[in-house]
Amino acid sequence: MLEFPTWKKIMLWAITLAFAAAAMPSLLGSAGLELGEDSSAPQINLGLDLAGGSHLLLEADPEEVALQRLENMEEAVKVALENSNPEIEYGDTSRSDGTLSFILDTPADIDRARGILEPLMMGEGLQREWDLTVIDGQRMVLTPTESGTAFALNTAMEGAVEVVRRRIDLLGTKEPTIIRQGDTRIVVQVPGLQDPQALKEQLGQTAQLEFKLVDQQALPTNTLAGIANPGSQIYPYATGSNFEGQFEAVKRLGGIRGDSLTGAQAGVDQRNNENIVSIQFDQQGGQKFAQLSTENVNERFAIILDGEVISAPVFNEPILGGAAQISGNFTAESANQLAISLQSGALPVPLTVIEERTVGPDLGAESIRSGLIAMIIGSIAVVTLMIATYGRFGVYATIALVFNVLILLGAMAIGNFTLTLPGIAGFVLTVGAAVDANVLINERIREERKRGRKVITAVENGYKEASRAIYDANITNFIAGALLFWFGSGPIRGFAVVLVIGLVTSVFTALTLTRMWVSGYLAGNRPKDINI
């Protein structure tokens, strides 16, 4: 038990010093010292609650994705059936319970319609994304399959993560962390952010731009009462637009979506000094826009952003260049924000901020300072108590404690773990609990000596008999800590990390390192009696 061959000593010291060395960059860094060339050495990350910054949890509504899919399918069905030859006539289109259904005018068309629509039911993958059924001989019902819906949601979320990343990059923030979490959530962490409000506004804007024809037949009174003609839909004007509080009836299908933009810039219209956003379509979008404007010259169309009408100008002439201007009583700020959102692309699904944690940079620095002071005072108290109670053996415990803190810091730096505010409390707890193992050992040695055992036997038994309880206690603590890690997020997880790593390091320092030192002392001095 007390024999330490040289190779074992060298190995233990090597482990100890390697981890302690890994702690140095972080320690020196926190003291304000920069390590010139060695700045690439791993350092402990500071959590947002210490470094300052914003943590946002965004959630997408899967129903929005499903709704969008249904609308796309309706549009695709319309195009497919209208282009069939001879044209298949249908009506009574309805969307309910997430399914799309319509009645063919001639039941005889059913097989031909099935043949035309069947390819639409398969997605880009090889999975069936929609089920096509016929009821009562002429009503066709399109139901999204589970795997199709899941695939669409997944695609939308992957797209959303990309859009969020682009928008944050356009805001010029440093080192953001953007992680998909679960099926419908995205975690965004932005360190050192000055204005979380602007970020939230940027992320809250879906930036789904649509151009839809105004329903000229709609009666203003009906529109105001919320009654739309068949095939039309009523949209409100956006807050802050020229016609705020009014409504516009537009044709549901046949418009185009602005998700094929190549650029968007905020600017000022020279003629009337109005803030505008100029947009450029990609080739395909440009062609569609040209076609729409050519076919509908002198007709009004509505520019709809996220379900609200910005403005509803007239196509004075065909717009062929693939570029357009949007005006809608913008301020310079809102024009700029819209330009950024359009440039980074529309979010495939609207996101909502469901959790926000923002900490200013001053508060974090203050927390570190006061936490450090408390830890130093606490450590001095623990060390004093240990040395006063166990003398030489308390000194060993103290040195072990110092190494324990260093190894713990080093392990956190190597593992790239994050130190949070509760993590500081975890450090203090670790300091208080790490010496527990030494208490158990030393008390056992006292007991053994009292029973009249020789020094060597007493120490040997002390380590052996105490280690059982030490392992049991640390393993149960480890279980509680692991559950805390599973349960917690962010700051709490930082607490769990320190506790759990601290358990492992304290068993190493308090049990193994002190045993090595004690055995060295016993072998070197061969004391007849020890003061414990």
């Binding site: 936490g371 408390a374 108290a381 109670t389 505010l421 500081i424 203090v428 158990l440 509680a480 559950l483």
Partner: protein, 326 residues
Amino acid sequence: MKLLKLVPQDTNIKFLKFRTPFFIFSLLLMVASWALVATMGLNYGVDFAGGQQIRATFTETAEAPVVELRETISALESVNDPVVQRFGEPNEVSIRVKLPPEAEGNPDFANQMTNSIVVALQDGYPDIRIDGVDSVGGKVAGEFRSDAVLALLAAMLMVALYIWIRFEWQFGVGALFALFHDVSVTLGMFALFQLEFSLQIIAAILAIIGYSLNDTIVVYDRVRENLKKYRKMPLPELLDLSVNETLARTVMTSLTLLVALVPLLMFGPSSLFGLVAAITAGLFIGTYSSVYLASPILIWLGVTSDSFVPQETEADIQEKKVLGQL
């Protein structure tokens, strides 16, 4: 050098003499705790109730206008009973607003509320500096609540299971009961004093579960050793002996933790106060339960020397050597 001995050697305190009154007292304490939780409820912070907690500093005003702030924020739409308190220095405040019932089913509600409060603060007080915002939506808060219950139950059951495997089932049950007592009384205290109950407190309770067990394990380890050593000793006597023999350890381990925690309580960051205070209180509760609950319950559950396979361990042999029996 004369070394400090906090606990005199060879104590012989009859801890178990009053085991029944103490046990009844503990049971009553647990019942009272749950009654308090049921009637008064826990004062959920934003983590569990949803809503906002905003911390702010007035950079050019010596004292934060707490009363005026309360009025400003109350005047906002759908804000009921904001809690505005000083937090730390006189020019620092914490503002807590819970989610109103109409937030149900609207995931964006919490965020909109945060925005309107922050804007109102910045418009009304030019020298205000927003130090921190915690805004939690209703759905997330609900998930935190169910996860917290799950984590606490799983922690208690899993450590009890471990003790069962390492010792005997009676010890597992005893440890579980002691832990349940610790968690109950901690919750009862939070209900009684209406202290803010947040995610940090769950972290504290999980830490308490760990540290409370440390003492229990030390006592149980000695009980097991003594059960093998003194086969004929009546159990109450043997338990008393075990608790007395390990008393110095129990006191020392709790004390080292206490002296480390107190400075953090006094000088540490104010936002850690709840966490540290809960662990400190749990330290006392846990030490009490290790001595007065975890041990006597072994008597009622009928632990005997035969609970452990009667075989001579090395400790036995050495003990006999010492006593000159071999």
